[in-house]
Symmetry: C2
Subunit: 349 residues, 2 copies
């Protein structure tokens, strides 16, 4: 894989990206080339200080501008043509790289990737796939924000893209895929989710899906069952994702506050430190690394703004696995069959 890393993206950029680049160069054998995109002088000094300046796989690409975390994504893409994010995406567009990774402004990363790279053949809308830790490993929720006003048919695309991600990157040969709904019974749902359910059921009955469609799913399925993928519109998915993150964070805060209230509790917490550490690692966004924006021509990974070097490494691993497995080729192949059915009798029902 050849990767363009937006070195100026992230709350603690560029250091986290330098740290991540160092780890990726050490640990990912299939990484052919890593381009660090950003202010040349800053990056040169930083790579030299980290001792990776002479690595032949590493190259610095100068970018004069930076997209800030507060800017409107669309405006940033249109106006800052020389930003590190813009140039990183351009390097996938012109074929220099296979994948782009940024921990910068999410809206700008989505806009730049969608506008510049454009959609894969047969894909109606790009979607963000967010892996969440679950009982059996990870459950992938999609879309978590790229497309807040989705059509029911878009969910078929999200299901296919997420299922391929589950299959190739998370080693789940026949992923279980559900539609998020307000109850697991077949009859439960909004008009929107019931139509998405109908489409997926019809495609499943025709044997066109590369996964096991389980029907409706809800909150507890995310963490306690062997569900691999939950699809929904980008509005509901974004609210779901942030509410889950906020709940875990609140749980952690309240636990910490409780511990601080007594000496005995503090002592207990000290003895439990390995348990807390393990849980923290399991639930950390850094362990997951990033979220792919799927459906575009190329691989585009969006990391959390608060990403650290480990997160960048893990996001690089995700990009590498997606590239090695030619995920986009599989998507195009399956979507071609599905779209024929969607234009035919399934649309008529």
């Amino acid at each position: 894989m050849k990767l363009a890393l937006d070195a100026m993206g992230g709350d603690n950029a560029p250091q986290i990206n330098i740290d991540g680049a160092k780890l990726a160069l050490e640990k990912i054998n299939t990484l052919e080339k890593l381009y660090l995109v950003g202010d040349e002088d800053t990056l040169k000094a930083a790579v030299d200080a980290t001792g990776i300046g002479s690595n032949p796989k590493l190259e610095i690409v100068h970018a004069a501008e930076v997209v800030s975390m507060e800017e409107s994504g669309l405006v940033a893409v249109r106006q800052k043509k020389k930003s590190s994010m813009s140039i990183s995406v351009d390097m996938v567009k012109d074929g220099t790289c296979d994948a782009v990774l940024s921990a910068g402004n999410t809206g700008a990363a989505v806009a730049a990737s969608t506008i510049k790279l454009r959609l894969l053949e047969g894909v109606e809308r790009a979607g963000i796939i967010s892996p969440l830790p679950s009982q059996h490993g990870y459950v992938l929720v999609s879309d978590t924000g790229a497309n807040p006003d989705a059509k029911p048919s878009h969910l078929a695309g999200y299901a296919v893209m997420s299922a391929l991600m589950a299959k190739y990157v998370y080693a789940r040969p026949v992923p279980n895929v559900g539609v998020m709904s307000n109850g697991t019974e077949d009859c439960k749902g909004s008009a929107f989710s019931l139509e998405a359910y109908r489409i997926l059921k019809a495609l499943s009955d025709k044997g066109l899906l590369p996964f096991n469609f389980i029907g409706n799913c809800e909150g507890h399925d995310l963490f306690e069952t062997d569900l691999d993928v939950a699809v929904t519109d980008g509005f509901t998915g974004n609210i779901l994702l942030k509410s889950v993150e906020a709940t875990a964070k609140a749980f952690g805060h309240w636990l910490k506050a409780g511990i601080m209230e007594s000496f005995m509790a503090k002592l207990g917490a000290l003895l439990m430190k390995p348990v807390f550490k393990k849980m923290g690692k399991r639930m950390s966004a850094d362990t997951i690394g990033g979220c792919p924006l799927m459906g575009v021509r190329g691989v585009s990974i969006i990391a959390h703004g608060s990403a650290n070097g480990t997160a960048i490494l893990n996001a690089c691993r995700m990009a590498d696995s997606m590239c090695r497995n030619n995920i986009n080729e599989h998507i195009v192949e399956i979507m071609a069959k599905i779209n024929t059915a969607l234009r035919g009798e399934i649309a008529m029902a």
Copy 2:
């Protein structure tokens, strides 16, 4: 308050309802009458065994049928006219009681209350209000499932009803109310949520709202800010609620599993027991008691299927507070003003 308690509702009915009735009779001074609705013989034996059989405030009302947890709510309401749930709701309808409480089949409780009691004047749709524990006490999320295909204008009603609940039952004089969205910036949202935002903003600008409209809100606002109410459609709200509950549950499970892995961790957990207990109480649905279905003529509270006696007591307290504060009268008064504006220039915008 005169209360009809569906004594056969709940996973551990009727005992939890007998336990709850005992607690409510002891602790709620303003409880004038408590009707236990269900199988007469079973209930007579149970109240005598609990020592509350001779309490003059308590009365048993016979109901020959029971709605099971698995039945379709709508079918149950239509076919089981003699069920404990149906008769309990009928007692509010005919004026015998002010409030009804059931820990039974949620769908049936919503259907029975909506169909039999009908909507308050000026209310377009009933909504379920779910209190969640937050940094400052509770945040009320509405609708969490009564109306999965809401119109944007319905959210104005949910905002008013939830805000009055926050004001009178949760002692928040001027509640902060937000619209759940995929980002806090004004421009963020789906077409649906942006229209709900526009309506609420217009009503707020006209000074017609009995609360402080803060605009968009998202996951972290639920737990970490002084948000009192988050409104959304019943589809998104139900998914949000169940995902939050599932996250808290998963967190608890993983913590427990980690503790079991080593002796030191077990010892630590023992020392931390008071902290875990306090957190468990804070986050327990039993502490909250129940969720009101608001917008119907009368007070209708739906408790969790796994409710215990404490949950029933707390749900009774909620019903009592809603009755004492004449919440429904306030709703009708405010909705009259709002609907005039909604039919006028706000609809035109």
